[in-house]
Amino acid sequence: MLAVEFRNVTKKFKQVVIAQEMNLRIREGRFSVIFGAPGAGKSTLLRLITGLDKPDQGEIFLRGVDVGKVSAADRNIGYVPQSFALYPHYSVFDNIAYPLRLMGVRKQDCVPVVEQVARQLQITHLLKKKPDQCSGGEKQRVAIARGIVKDTKIFILDDPLTGLDFKLRERLFDDLRQMREDLGATFIYTTSDPLESLILAEDIHVLDAGKIVESGETDALYAHPQHVRTMELLGFPNTNVFPGTLDDGTRVASQGLRFALAASGSAAKAGDVRIAVRPQNIRINPEFRDGLLVVPADVTLVEDLGGELHVYLEVEKTPLEALIPNAGIESLTEGKATIGIQPGDLKVYSASTGQFIGQGVA
């Protein structure tokens, strides 16, 4: 069963199209991440699911039910907003109990439920405090506790870890994954952080310019992205994407690189293409060049990340980024270098549709 389904949903604000004939299928009982760059339309998508906004066209189904005429209150969704939005005039206990109280649960009946959720998130000691007496991480836990206290099947978390330091986020990653397993519910989580998406998600839905460009299980989506925006955005650092041309459907040329194409289908037509290669797949001054495409490059900047070097390059004025093991290269400095790429690591996408065409072969 699908937890959420969008069928050709369009949403405009003052003639500006925010969501364009969007189709989305979120599987039930999965940790689904809606991933997209800032401004891609994540908040609009969530507002449409929660019922805070209505679509101009199209249909939205929650667990198989058309919710076109169902109000936000009646959709029974657990919600963790982006900013904590904890009510400052309520105690932590009252904040967590808030959704239950609105459902008409008596205060004494809320106590065991709130205490159980508080134990789960290790915030029992905060229950009597006011939100302004809590630290940022504690507030976030309280906000998550309030979001999951309801007995429901769909939980929405709107970029809830933004602004928290990495250690705290790491701890909350574990908590969130564990909570989803315990609750057996669908978690819909939005973020613009590729690492967060890859760590948390079972399924990822890539949103770009108001459209879901690709959906799939995390590993498959990372390994075989079928859309250039997925390839470009889902990974750290962002994937290198640069223009090229496809001659007669078999050979690709771009900025000093020339390679044969193994087309994924029969649709490879001559014309402009986008070529993508992950920074991890670029080697600098490789010792063994067998099977590699080798081109000269200029190293413009080297950032030492400890275990890795983040290298900024230029190949015939096209900027590229590479991520290489720190131990792999001795005294890499700005200046001339050569880079090597396995042809199979070069993915080719249509310049017009962004769809995957094929990848390089030796």
Partner: protein, 278 residues
Amino acid sequence: MNRARGWRKTAYHVLLWVIALIFFAPILWIIMGAFKTTDGILAVPPQFVFVPTLDNFVDLFNRPNVLRYLGNSILMSSASVGIAIVVAFLAAYAFSRFKPRGTSFLMFMLLSIRMVPAVAVVIPVSLMYSALQWKDTYFGMIMIYAMFSIPFSVWILKGFVDGVSQRYDETALINGGSRWHIIFRVILPQVAPGLVAAFIFNLIFVWNEFLFSLILGGRDTTSIPVSFSTDLYSDGGVDWTFTASMATVYMIPPILSILFFQKYLLVGMTFGTVRGEV
């Protein structure tokens, strides 16, 4: 260096005290006058050491209409400002959250209304009140003061409501809260300082209002400011003991309300749009 800074600070404080005392002197004079005899009030040079008497207050409250004046002022100011705050809060919420078409123009108009000189309005309003037979009625007086208090209150309160993130509304809506629940249980507690600030600013305005009270009011609705003009003279001269004791009593409610709500008022004056206006 430190000594120079210390000197400058001391001089600054002395200057502030001198200015404060200059402005406070007339108030001190009238309060001291309330505890003096007529001769004591008019003595030259002024007496700073004297035997205080409460006779002026006994006389004041033995006058037939004084309690009615006081009651009228309290009733008209608290009722009109109370109504204004409720209406203004709802309007501020609507302007802030629903942003109806022409919000900026409407907000500008609200502020403009407040800038129209009272004398330009008082005659047409008086004619309207005569036609409606609202002159010298509590309803009529409360309505006119509420009308005057609403625009400024909307301005203050919209700034406060704007300062409360819409995420609070959305969290409540998704969890099943109604708009009324959001307005009164979610937003109102967070804008309480603004409500108190708006209430006190308007209370002081209505409490001090003279012109409309004189023109639209009458025997039944005489307020304290008007009573100064009607009861000021006796035996062919200014009744200084009445003036001093009435003025002293007149000052008590606003001072008490400011003292009582000082905490909120200070927050109110440094928050939302009030920051630029006070």
